[in-house]
Symmetry: C2
Subunit: 343 residues, 2 copies
DNA sequence: TTGAAAGCGGTACCAT
DNA sequence: ATGGTACCGCTTTCAA
C-alpha cells in the first residue's frame, strides 16, 4: 500500500494524506483521524527511499569500522557500544548502516558514503592522534561524531571519550600503592589516540611519586597475546625486571599472564598484572587478571550518548560541536560473591 | 555531481550516460570511454536512494538483533560474524543495516522493514525452535536466511548452522573418556534451537556408552555467571554430585569455575569443566577453562557464507533455499606455545 | 547508437 | 482545509 493507493482509497489527494500523516496543522481534525485510521488499518509505511529522495534526508547513520588487524575494533566492546547506539537510533527513527572497510579503502569509503548519499552522518571509531578521516569529513562537510579523540587535531568536532589518562593514572597509582616501583606498560600502538593518553596517565602517576620513567619498561604495539607474552619474556630478562605489568588490552593481558605462569624466569617472584579495556567486565571473575574497566552497561551508555550527540548535530544544523568525557570505573581484583546478574 | 549534470557536461543525454555507466551493450565504445572517464574524474556515484527508487532494489540487507537479556546476542561472537558478513556485502555492493529491536517489537520491526522497503533481505539471528519470525517472513515474502535453524519448522528456508549436536556429543565423549560418569549439562534455554540440539548431543553420547541420563544433572536457563555459579552450588550438594560440567556458554562457565574454586563443597574433588561457545577462542589461553569452540576465523567464515547465501537467493529469484552445516572445531585444554598471532 | 519521456513514491510550493 | 503539480535522481520503454 503506497500513498497514492491510500489517497485513492480515501477519496483524498496525496497531498492531504501526506499532510495528515506528517502532522501538518492545516488539516482538519476529522480528516486527520480518518486518514490515520486508514493508514493504521492498511499498515501503511512511507517508502523510505522515496521519502529520502524527496526530502534529501536518508534517515540513516553510518558506522565505518576499520577491518584491519591493527585496530581490532571488532572486539567484545563493539557489541555493547553498537547496541547502545542502536537504541538511540531507533528512538529517533534512524537506521544504522554498518560498513566494514579495509584500511586502505577508508578514505574512498567516506567519499563513497557522501556521494551515494545514503547516510546523514557518520560515527568514527578508533581515531589516531592525527586522524586523516577527521580532516576528510570536515572538508566533505558530512556531520560526524568520534568515539574517542584525536589529540593533534585542533579544529573543533564532536566526540565522546572515556578519560583514558585518568584511568591509567589511577591504575598506576594502585600499583604504586602496592609497593611496586618497576611497572611495565604494555600499551597499544601509540598512534592510536587512546594509547597515547594512557601512557601519559602512567607517566603522570610515576612522576607524581618521583619514580623514574624507564624507557626499557615502555612497550607499544598491536595488542595480541603474543605481544603480551613476548614482552614478559623479554622484560624478565632485564637486570632489574618489572614486578608489575599494566596492560592496555585484555587480549594482550592473557599473553602476559600466561608468560608469567609458564616462565621459569619469574619463579618465586611476586608479580602483579593489571589491565584495562573499554569493556570486559564479564571476564572480571573468570580471568585471574585484575581488570580495570568500564562496565558493559557504561559502554552501552557511551554508544547511546554518542549516537544522540550525532543526531542532535544533524538535526540542528549550524550547532556547535558537542563533546563528552566519561570517567572509567575502576574495579580491581576478583569479586567475592556471584557476579550481579546483568539484565 | 549527479547524472543530469554529468550528462550536460558531456553533451549527452542522461539515458546514454546511464547506459554507458551500467554496461549496456548498445553504447559505442568510444562514448562509453568518454563517459567513464568523465565519471571517474568527477568522482560520480549514483545516488543510492534514487537508484533504489527506480529499480526497486534497496541494495541493502538487514540484520535484526533481538535486544533482550534473554538471547545475549550482542556477545563477542557477534563482532566476528558481522564482520564476515560485511565482507560479502561490500563485495556484492550491498549495505548492511542493523536493527537492534526489543523483543516485543520484533514482529512489528519486520513488518516495518518490509513496508519501508529499505532492505532486500534479512538475516535472522538466534532462532527458537518454532520461531514465529520465520513463519512471518515466509508469509511476507521477504528473502531471508537464518543463522542457526528452527527444528520445528518444516517448510524449507535458507540457513547456516554449526553442528551443535555433534559438537556436544564429542565434548561429552571427551569427558567420558576421562572417566567421568556424572556429567552435569549447564545448557542455555532450550527453546533456543541450538540449546536443544546441544542437549541431544549430550544425551546421545551418554546413551551410546550406556550411561544413564540423570534429570538432576540437566539445567537450562539464561546463560549468566550467576546461573553457572548457582548450578554448581546446588549440584555439589547432591548425594552423588557431578564430577564434570559441560557448559553451553563461556559466560556461565566463568560462574561454574568460580563456584568450584570457592566452594568448600568441592574441596579435594577433581572436577572437569568444559564449555562451548560459538567463539571465544581468544580466551583459550587465558581462562583456565578448556574451551570447545569454533575459532574466530571460522565464525567470520560463517558470516561470510551466510551473507553470500542470502545474496544468491536475492539475486536469483525463484531459487530453492540454500543450507549449510558447519562442523565446530574441538580444542581442549591450554596450548603450550604462545597463541598464534591472528592477522 | 542516441534521446525524450514516463515512472518509482514521496514532499512541498502554489493555487483554490 | 484541500488539491494540482513540479521535482528529488535514476532507470527503462519507446521512438527516432
Amino acid at each position: 500500500m503506497n500513498l497514492k493507493q491510500l489517497a485513492a482509497h480515501l477519496g483524498l489527494s496525496q497531498t492531504t494524506v501526506s499532510r495528515a500523516l506528517n502532522g501538518y496543522p492545516e488539516v482538519s481534525e476529522e480528516t486527520r483521524k480518518r486518514v490515520q485510521q486508514a493508514a493504521d488499518q492498511h499498515n501503511y509505511r512511507p517508502n523510505t527511499r522515496a521519502k529520502a529522495l524527496a526530502t534529501g534526508r536518508a534517515m540513516a547513520i553510518g558506522h565505518v569500522i576499520p577491518l584491519s588487524s591493527r585496530h581490532e575494533m571488532m572486539n567484545p566492546i563493539f557489541g555493547d557500544f553498537i547496541s547502545g547506539a542502536g537504541e538511540s537510533y531507533s528512538n529517533a527513527g534512524y537506521d544504522m548502516v554498518l560498513s566494514l572497510v579495509a584500511d586502505k579503502e577508508q578514505s574512498s569509503a567516506y567519499h563513497e558514503m557522501v556521494a551515494k548519499r545514503n547516510v546523514d552522518g557518520i560515527v568514527l571509531h578508533a581515531p589516531e592522534m592525527r586522524d586523516p578521516r577527521i580532516t576528510l569529513l570536515q572538508k566533505i562537510g558530512l556531520p560526524f561524531a568520534v568515539h574517542g579523540r584525536a589529540t593533534e587535531i585542533t579544529t573543533p568536532y564532536s566526540w565522546l571519550d572515556v578519560n583514558n589518562r585518568s584511568a591509567f593514572q589511577r591504575a598506576t597509582d594502585f600499583l604504586l600503592d602496592l609497593g611496586h616501583r618497576r611497572i611495565c606498560l604494555v600499551n597499544g600502538q601509540e598512534n592510536m589516540d587512546f594509547a597515547f593518553r594512557r601512557r601519559r596517565g602512567y607517566e603522570a602517576a610515576l612522576t607524581a611519586r618521583g619514580v623514574e620513567i624507564d624507557p626499557q619498561l615502555l612497550f607499544a604495539d598491536e595488542m595480541t597475546e603474543v605481544y603480551g607474552y613476548e614482552t614478559v619474556r623479554r622484560t624478565q630478562r632485564l637486570d632489574d625486571p618489572p614486578t608489575a605489568y599494566l596492560v592496555s588490552s585484555i587480549i594482550a593481558a592473557f599473553g602476559v599472564r600466561r608468560a608469567i605462569e609458564e616462565s621459569e624466569l619469574v619463579m618465586g617472584r611476586d608479580i602483579s598484572v593489571i589491565t584495562h579495556d573499554d569493556d570486559l567486565s564479564y571476564l572480571r571473575n573468570g580471568a585471574d587478571v585484575p581488570v580495570f574497566t568500564a562496565t558493559r552497561s557504561s559502554v552501552r551508555e557511551a554508544g547511546r550518548k554518542l549516537a544522540q550527540l550525532l543526531i542532535t548535530q544533524i538535526e540542528t544544523p549550524g550547532s556547535p560541536p558537542l563533546t563528552e568525557l566519561l570517567e572509567a570505573e575502576l574495579t580491581v581484583g576478583r569479586s567475592t560473591g556471584p557476579a550481579p546478574n546483568r539484565t
